[in-house]
């Protein structure tokens, strides 16, 4: 039970905010300011904990350049339901975890103007942070689902109590959309669970799935036989089931382990059975999961909750929503949809790309049409997250390219980069909108103008952050967009041309907004007298965001070092799968026939 144990460290990281929320709830009445200070201290501490991973060589760290899961641990949570408390970090989740902790800290700092029911606000905010961190670390499908749902209620109240005039409508709309998505996800989870079978995985695959623990470079087979004879309930079940020699009588050993499900999706035919209307189990699972995640991303046509939620939510919550919650959709697609259901992903690759491009175009046009500053930023999120979906979906490792995964890797890395970059720039944009809204209490783009004269520092920072959102070279938004657009070129010329053209639209709405808000001779809108220069607190939130935007724009390797190995590994695996799949289709050989896996009717 030391802090260098991943169990303790990761659990502390995830549950510290929730514990703090509990303590706050039990504390006697304090001054509002103290609640905010305590919460800020907790979020800062959580951020410091994530920074602890960067101390390479320390007892607990996150090594750059390693593709596999790190700090993995696995404890039975509810053994009778087969649910495990299973967490780890890899290059895909680690940057998002750090981003979450970072933005939570800034958003808490941005919460100072909130004066209504401060205690409740802080409690809900901290619970939300636990949910967000948990989603990115959980590797048990159920744990993932639970964390996913944990976020809903705090978010509902944060929008519904502290939001703008139409807050109740926006809050329930957000809740309903997400709940429908998660119900679809639940159906898919159960479909995958009941068709999974751990006994079909070999020792190496079980080790990769974190079930058999091996020392670095240790012998897998040895670890496997040690595991089989161990006292672990799962191992005992495994032995019991595999004792049945008759394969037709053998039971299945179901699992919620995401890594094991990935192995099954890529190396066995467990999810290929026909489910409904001639489509396979994984086809349906992919579709349901994809809809569930795309609601969160959000992509057109399931995006309609987002402008409402963003506009009504208070500024810090908008920052969280745009900065982190949207990333969960992209993370889910990358972590769950593709690796578990590769066949379906291959089948629907064009559909996914199309959804991405549609969101980019639609979001950009919608942003152009907005009169409300915050709504414009919200639609820009729809457009920017379209890049993420597009980048993830570019399945260019096909026969025509000789199964060359390089472009797809570029797309996926671009998508991941775009997620982080958008997390920084959109949170910044929402914060910048919030800063002037706090002063003049309106967001009408038509009534702004001339802010540069009254708030020069603020305007400079804001323009910088908006340029990061625009994708100006040298700022973070550029890298992700360019990687994605380049990768699409090898996949589909039409989509590439359209997605490249969206950059013009993006430039259009952002420059136009900058012109209408910051430029111009004089501010003529209401409450002109309230336009005071930016405060230190606001400065301390905006500056880190702009600095990061510049750092990632100028030196993207600092981020790619961490995430690229994991993304590349996954794409390599999927590319290998594609080649095998195509060979199999041409040879009409059932999957697993070569490596001795039995492909006939396995029975529970």
């Amino acid at each position: 039970m030391t802090l260098s144990d991943p169990k303790v460290y990761l659990s502390l990281l995830v549950f510290l905010p929730a514990l703090a929320a509990l303590v706050l709830a039990l504390l006697p009445r304090l001054a509002d300011e103290s609640y905010k200070l305590i919460s800020l201290a907790v979020t800062i501490f959580v951020f410091i904990l994530t920074l602890g991973f960067f101390r390479s060589g320390a007892p607990i760290d996150f090594e750059a350049g390693v593709a596999e899961m790190q700090n993995l641990f696995n404890i039975d949570w509810i053994p009778s339901f087969g649910i495990q408390y299973f967490m780890a970090l890899d290059g895909i989740s680690f940057p998002l975890v750090v981003l979450t902790a970072f933005l939570s800290m800034l958003a808490m700092a941005a919460s100072w103007p909130i004066n209504k029911h401060v205690k409740g606000y802080c409690i809900l905010f901290l619970l939300l942070e636990t949910g967000m961190l948990g989603v990115f670390m959980a590797l048990d499908f159920f744990l993932f689902y639970v964390f996913w749902e944990v976020m809903l209620l705090p978010m509902y109240f944060l929008i519904g109590v502290w939001g703008g005039p139409r807050r109740e409508y926006a809050a329930i709309k957000f809740f309903l959309y997400t709940l429908v998505g998660s119900v679809l996800m639940l159906i898919a989870i159960l479909m995958l669970y009941f068709n999974s079978d751990l006994t079909r995985l070999d020792a190496q695959q079980l080790a990769d799935a974190g079930i058999v623990s091996t020392a670095k470079g240790g012998d897998v087979e040895q670890a496997f036989s040690a595991w089989k004879s161990s006292k672990a309930p799962l191992a005992q079940k495994y032995t019991e089931i595999t004792q049945e020699a008759d394969l037709t009588q053998r039971k299945q050993l179901h699992t919620f382990n995401i890594l094991a499900l990935q192995q099954m999706g890529q190396h066995t035919d467990l999810f290929d059975g026909v489910a409904l209307w001639g489509k396979s189990i994984q086809w349906w699972a992919f579709l349901l999961l994809f809809i569930g995640f795309v609601i969160k991303v959000p992509s057109v046509p399931l995006h309609t909750w987002l402008p409402d939620a963003h506009v009504e939510a208070p500024t810090p919550i908008s920052m969280i929503l745009a900065g982190i919650l949207l990333k969960m959709g992209g993370y889910g697609i990358l972590r769950i949809c593709y690796p578990i259901c590769p066949d379906a992903g291959y089948d629907m690759a064009y559909f996914v790309c199309f959804v991405g491009v549609l969101s980019m175009v639609y979001g950009a046009f919608a942003a152009l049409a907005q009169k409300d500053f915050k709504r414009m930023v919200a639609y820009s999120s729809v457009s920017h997250m379209g890049y993420v979906v597009l980048g993830l979906g570019v399945w260019s490792a096909v026969a025509d390219t000789g199964y060359n995964p390089d472009y797809w890797k570029m797309g996926a890395n671009g998508a991941m980069f775009q997620m982080i970059a958008h997390g920084i720039s959109s949170a910044g944009m929402f914060f910048m909108v919030g800063v002037i809204y706090d002063r003049v209490h309106h967001r009408d783009l038509e009534k702004f103008g001339g802010l540069f004269a009254k708030m020069p520092v603020y305007s400079g920072l804001a323009v910088g952050i908006f340029f990061a959102g625009l994708g100006l070279p040298g700022l973070c938004g550029f890298i992700g967009e360019v990687l994605v657009v380049l990768s699409v070129w090898k996949y589909s010329y039409a989509l590439a041309v359209i997605s490249a053209a969206v950059v013009i639209l993006t430039a259009g709405y952002i420059l136009w907004a900058i012109q209408r808000v910051y430029l111009g001779a004089e501010y003529k809108g209401p409450h002109g007298e309230a336009l005071t220069p930016i405060t230190m607190r606001e400065l301390s939130i905006a500056v880190p965001l702009l600095v990061l935007a510049i750092v990632f724009g100028v030196y993207p390797t600092s981020l790619l070092n961490y995430m690229q190995p994991s993304v590349d590994l996954q794409i390599d695996r999927l590319a290998a799968w594609t080649e095998e799949h195509d060979n199999r289709v041409t040879a009409t050989k059932p999957l697993g026939a070569e490596d001795g896996q039995v492909a006939d009717a396995w029975h529970r």
């Binding site: 109590v161 329930i172 009941f194 059975g273």
Partner: protein, 577 residues
């Protein structure tokens, strides 16, 4: 061979009753004794000074203690199914579990009644007698093995409930509710009795296993080939449907739910808690008993691994040219001609009938309950529809259990375990919801959702706990209400076949439908402004403590449902064998 004389029969009957049956009947006997003491204590001098609350509480706690097996809960693992009172009742781990459940509820309920003051010094004894009497009936319902006991149990549970619904004197709504309940209950009881007589008439017995054996002897598929046989089957179906009417009334399943919202609105919130938790639980177990009792005879039970599996695979591999890829595919191919796979055996038509009927009713009940709850402005009416919806959800577990019972006993047990988990967690959710309603009624004399506005500002603990309970009723993790829903969905998926998959999807979609109306109450309490008409609301220490105690398990079991799930697994470990 000795001649059988009357003396022998009487001797063996007495021996059987005293030695074989009564030891298993101790909790019920304790309830009976408490009822008698409650009724007669005031005759004696000084008796009126003993508070009836005290007697009722001691009596129910005694019964609860007696309900725990002497050898410990672990003994359920090996506890055989025993018929007691010459086959009238059945004692197995399910009986034992549900009795512990009912009696625990009654203990909490008596405390609640005392705290809300509905059972005051004058009326207390009537109230407690009725509650304990109804509980006795529910225990019998849940353990009945004979049509006679089934009917008696239902009536013993219902008649006191009628009176309880109208126990608040001088309120027109209350009397109206009681009257509506009586008329509805009497009507459905009559129909049910008619159905029972049809069934027993054809099958020659009212003892469930014997009835199942004669049903198996009838050979229904064969009967259907002749005109006369079809008539017999028709009468059987009619009898089954009529029996179903009585059970649906107790379950408030659509289309026999009309009494429920009116009675819930008219009766006091405490009584609503009793009706929605205890009465529903007993009715659900009774439905399971009927389904399992008529749907299977002991000889045709498959071994745990499924004896008819190879046949399914043979069909699969011969029926399709491509090799069947995996287990699910094989089953699906094998059962593609079968919309509702229920396994083989002579009683499979009975099971199929039961499963189709219950699952369709469950879907309609669940969906209707959720949709009708939308328009409600009175919290008790809304919770009544919520109860209807939850009953529908729980019925799905029963349909899945019976569909699985003919194929894989282990899976069927899991389905029943899901039902028991649902019932157990539903106790905490609904008891605390109705407790909040009752305490708030005492404080602000209103049960309108609009009057709950802004409660979080005056009584934050109550509002937070109620919100947790409502969210748990929606079924969102990490609150307890999620786990039973998950288990039921899993059971439905395991049951397979187009009908069950349809039920599965309907159940999942209903979770989303239910969101809005539960959340509306939470919204009223936490977001809305306080209504002008309402004064200061502050619950006393004891009511707040009670709400806390019954709603904290919703959070605890939400994070750690393992122990409770292990318990329900134990309770079903010998079922269907």
């Amino acid at each position: 061979m000795q001649p059988v004389t009357l003396q022998h029969i009487v001797d063996s009957l007495i021996g059987n009753t005293l030695e074989g049956s009564l030891p298993f009947f101790r909790p019920e006997l304790a309830l009976c004794a408490t009822i008698v003491v409650l009724l007669f204590v005031r005759i004696f001098k000084g008796g009126e000074y003993i508070p009836s609350f005290f007697i009722a509480l001691v009596g129910s706690i005694t019964a609860l203690v007696l309900a725990f097996p002497v050898e410990g809960i672990e003994s359920w693992m090996t506890m055989p199914r025993q018929e007691i009172f010459t086959g009238m009742l059945v004692y197995d781990s399910l009986t034992a579990f549900i009795r512990i459940f009912l009696l625990s509820f009654v203990v909490l309920f008596i405390v609640l009644s005392r705290l809300t003051g509905i059972a005051d010094a004058k009326d207390g004894q009537d109230y407690y007698v009725l509650v304990l009497g109804a509980t006795l009936g529910m225990c019998i319902m849940a353990s009945s093995n004979h049509m006679m006991m089934l009917f008696m149990g239902v009536e013993m549970a219902s008649v006191p409930s009628y009176v309880l619904a109208g126990i608040v004197k001088g309120r027109q709504r209350s009397s109206e509710a009681a009257l509506k309940y009586v008329i509805y209950g009497a009507g459905t009881a009559g129909v049910m009795l008619y159905g029972i007589s049809l069934l027993t008439g054809i099958l020659g017995s009212a003892h469930l296993p014997t009835m199942a054996a004669s049903l198996a002897d009838l050979d229904i598929p064969n009967l259907l080939t002749s005109a006369e046989g079809r008539l017999t089957v028709m009468v059987l179906v009619l009898g089954g449907l009529m029996l179903g009417v009585g059970l649906a009334f107790k379950l408030s399943a659509v289309p026999f739910h009309f009494w429920c919202p009116d009675v819930f609105e008219g009766a006091s919130a405490e009584v609503d808690a009793f009706l929605s938790v205890a009465s529903k639980a007993a009715a659900l177990v009774l439905l399971l008993r009927v389904g399992a009792g008529l749907g299977m005879v002991h000889e045709e039970l498959p071994v745990a691994n499924g004896a008819d599996r190879p046949a399914a695979i043979a069909v699969a591999s011969s029926g399709s040219s491509t090799p069947a890829h995996n287990a699910v595919l094989a089953t699906q191919v094998a059962e593609s001609s079968d919309a509702t796979p229920v396994g083989g055996g002579p009683l499979s038509p009975v099971r199929r009938f039961f499963v189709v009927l219950v699952s369709i009713m469950a879907i309609v009940t669940c969906t209707f309950g959720n949709l009708a709850a939308y328009g409600q402005t009175n919290i008790k009416r809304m919770l009544a529809y919520s109860t209807i919806a939850h009953a529908g959800f729980m019925m799905m577990a029963i349909a899945a259990a019976i569909a699985l019972a003919g194929r894989d006993v282990a899976d069927a047990r899991t389905a029943v375990s899901a039902l028991l988990l649902y019932i157990s967690l539903y106790l905490f959710m609904n008891l605390s919801a109705f407790a909040v309603v009752a305490f708030l009624r005492n404080e602000m004399h209103s049960e309108e959702i609009a009057d709950y506005g802004g409660l979080i500002r005056t009584s934050p603990l109550t509002a937070v706990m109620m919100t947790a309970v409502l969210v748990s009723l929606i079924g969102l993790p990490p609150l307890a209400g999620f786990w039973p829903k998950l288990r039921v969905l899993q059971a439905l998926y395991t049951a397979g076949g187009p009908l069950m998959i349809f039920v599965f999807v309907a159940a999942a979609v209903n979770t989303a439908i239910a969101l809005v109306y539960y959340l509306r109450v939470a919204k009223a309490m936490c977001i809305d402004p306080e209504p002008d008409t309402r004064g200061e609301v502050s619950l006393g220490f004891l009511p707040a403590a009670f709400i806390f105690v019954v709603s904290v398990p919703v959070v605890i079991f939400g994070i750690l449902p393992g122990p409770l799930a292990d318990w329900t697994d134990l309770a079903v470990s010998q079922l269907f064998s």
